[in-house]
């Protein structure tokens, strides 16, 4: 019987067998694979669908794949896709109402019943899932759909060894080592034998791992694994000092930098769509032509669309300056008040996938460099 604190080693064949064991256990495998010129998160059949020897270059508004010249299966940073695609899908049917001669029949959408194994979840992404758990699955009104999907997910984390130019998980204390609610966590080792050092995070993880041939990790294996994330921590493309960040932003709500960023911003909402913690949705009601069937659907929405803050009489945030400020102050400041943590995990997606390369670490630095006089603090 494997011990929860025990670390074991899988070779490449063993890692393939682990994925197969998850599939045999009834999980749909979703993980990184190459598609559309990027490493996307999609259905995978097994180890052969993982990117092999593929790395990524990420910079503000820029993403390219590159050949690493090795056999690494996880030699890249985060995908354009976040795991919220699985847990908080872009569209979720909520309820259908049918009208007939006998009255109205109200039918809630069926609860999701799909077991999904998330392959290759990074530390920043695990932190993002923990944030969405807090926002969506706890409190007085947990979201049943999210909670059901989350309860049926198996998380195989992979500690990050290849941060990108837009990464700053060290600043946000979310990586590169994955912490928290994983079932299994792997460190990929490329020096010497291609192998994976596996940590066990849950009974479910232990049960799956027990089905696969492995050996106990040696001190050298564990030291090498630690060295991977220790080195990754020195490779952050960006940094965002968080000391006093909440108060800094809230004291600078009229800072000229907000207009500066609004002048460059396209208002396209890519930052919020890419962000692994942004959770805003809208609810749509539609009818068919006969009017006998009405359907209510929840879909992703964004604080960057003009209609999102539309209330009776107009928009609460009519300017792009107001919308960008709302997003960034919520993410980095008022999130603390609301959910007791930052809403940012330092994954860098909002920087990479902004078509004009707006960089929130740079915006924060600009405000920090020239904060408003204290007299405006409570304005």
């Amino acid at each position: 019987m494997l011990d929860l604190n025990q670390r074991v080693v899988l070779d490449r064949a063993g890692f393939a067998a682990l994925l197969q064991a998850l599939a045999d256990d009834g999980h749909a495998l979703v993980g990184p694979t190459v598609g559309d010129g990027a490493i996307v998160l999609d259905a995978i059949a097994g180890i052969d669908d993982l990117p092999r020897g593929v790395g990524d270059d990420q910079a503000p508004g820029h993403y390219r794949l590159r050949d690493r010249g090795d056999a690494a299966l996880f030699g890249y940073a985060v995908s354009p896709h976040a795991w919220k695609r699985e847990l908080l899908p872009p569209r979720v049917p909520l309820v259908q109402i049918r009208r007939s001669a006998t009255g109205l029949a109200i039918e809630a959408a069926p609860a999701p019943t799909r077991k999904v194994a998330f392959i290759g979840v990074r530390g920043c992404e695990l932190a993002a899932i923990a944030i969405q758990d807090r926002v969506l699955a706890t409190g007085a009104h947990p979201d049943a759909d999210y909670a059901a999907r989350r309860a049926q997910s198996f998380i195989l984390a992979v500690h990050c060894g290849s941060p990108a130019g837009t990464c700053f998980c060290v600043s946000m204390e979310t990586g590169p080592r994955a912490r928290g609610a994983f079932d299994l966590a792997a460190t990929e080792l490329l020096d010497g034998e291609h192998r994976f050092v596996i940590e066990i995070g849950s009974d479910a993880g232990r049960a799956i791992l027990a089905r696969v041939a492995s050996r106990t990790a040696t001190t050298d294996d564990v030291t090498a694994a630690t060295a991977v994330t220790d080195h990754a921590a020195t490779q952050m493309g960006r940094a965002m000092p968080t000391a006093g960040l909440r108060d800094l932003l809230m004291a600078n709500l009229e800072h000229p930098r907000w207009q500066h960023v609004a002048d460059r911003c396209l208002g396209c909402a890519n930052c919020t769509m890419s962000c692994p913690t942004c959770f805003c949705t809208s609810v749509e009601d539609t009818t068919d032509l006969s009017g006998d069937v009405a359907t209510r659907t929840r879909r992703w929405d964004s604080c960057f669309t003009a209609d999102f803050a539309y209330v009776h009489g107009g928009s609460a945030r009519p300017s792009l300056r107001a919308r960008y400020r709302q997003w960034m102050t919520h993410k980095l400041a008022t999130w603390h008040d609301q959910f007791d943590s930052s809403g940012c995990v330092g994954c860098g997606r909002c920087i990479t996938w902004c078509p004009v390369g707006i960089d929130l670490t740079e915006e924060v630095a600009a405000i920090r460099a020239a904060p408003a006089p204290r007299s405006h603090a409570d304005g």
Binding site: G37, P80, L266, C268, A269, M273, L289, F304
Partner: protein, 264 residues
């Protein structure tokens, strides 16, 4: 109770948008069951007299005669919905708005004096009040059905005005601008096509015109910074929705001109 009447009207256009109605193959019987086709030249030459409950208007205003005809149609229509880029922004033919109209006529027609045309191609909303504008070149048939359904049941159409980027992200399409450096108008373009072109690895052409909060100036600046030649950026803005104010602004930025005067 009699069914509401639907009339389809054509102005300067290619008929592609109104054909979207016939394109609703699976839903066509349901449409015809829910409404009475009072006028639809693509389906029947019979034209029932007005007034009409719902008019769908395709095409732009390009002649003095059409400028009068649209007023009669408006007077006969309880609800008037414009469909497509021609009707909502003047269409591709609005390229003439900034060019020498007389010279263009003379280069095409042997006897331009036989023609009675306006120097501009303009949107229907520039001439009469419009209840709803459905964008696209051509429009999306699912959105057309949604607008007709919404009209029949007295509700607001679920038609989003935000950027096409949300549709790419919801589909999971990887950004062609960021990952491939392709020029793409998605960030400033009105949603509705479900991000058709980027999903097939092409940048957005802007068929649906500007989104509700389009920022053409930083868009043009970024395309130029990515290495797209200025005339290419200008042409990108000057296609199906060339006369839409935000796209005019983008084209002017690409040329290095001051913003168009009649736009704030």
């Amino acid at each position: 109770m009699s069914r509401p009447t639907l009339a389809v009207w054509k102005f300067a256009s290619c008929d592609g948008c109104q054909l979207s109605l016939l394109d609703c193959e699976d839903e066509l019987l349901a449409v015809c069951g829910a409404i009475e086709l009072a006028s639809f030249a693509e389906a029947t030459s019979h034209v029932a007299p007005g007034p009409y409950d719902l008019s769908l208007v395709e095409g732009s205003i390009t002649t003095p005669h059409d400028a009068l005809r649209i007023k009669e149609i408006r007077a006969q229509s309880k609800t008037l919905v414009t469909i497509g880029a021609c009707a909502t922004s003047g269409g591709l033919q609005a390229l003439r708005n900034t060019r020498d109209h007389a010279a263009m006529l003379a280069s095409v027609y042997a006897r331009p004096d036989y023609l009675e045309t306006l120097a501009t191609s303009t949107a229907i909303a520039d001439h009469v009040p419009v209840d709803f504008e459905l964008r696209g070149c051509p429009i999306d048939k699912h959105q057309l059905l949604e607008v007709v359904s919404a009209f029949l049941h007295g509700r607001k159409p679920n038609v989003q005005r935000h950027s096409t980027c949300l549709e790419c992200k919801m589909r999971g399409t990887v950004c062609v601008m960021v990952a491939k450096g392709q020029p793409c108008l998605g960030p400033v373009t009105h949603a509705g096509c479900n991000a058709l072109c980027p999903t097939y690895a092409r940048g957005c052409f802007g068929c649906f015109g500007p989104s509700d909060a389009a920022r053409p100036v930083p868009m043009a600046d970024r395309l130029i910074a990515l290495g797209t030649a200025r005339p290419v950026v200008e042409r990108l803005f000057e296609t199906f929705n060339v006369a839409a104010p935000a796209f005019r602004e983008g084209a002017a930025r690409a040329r290095g001109d001051a913003p168009p005067k009649d736009h704030e």
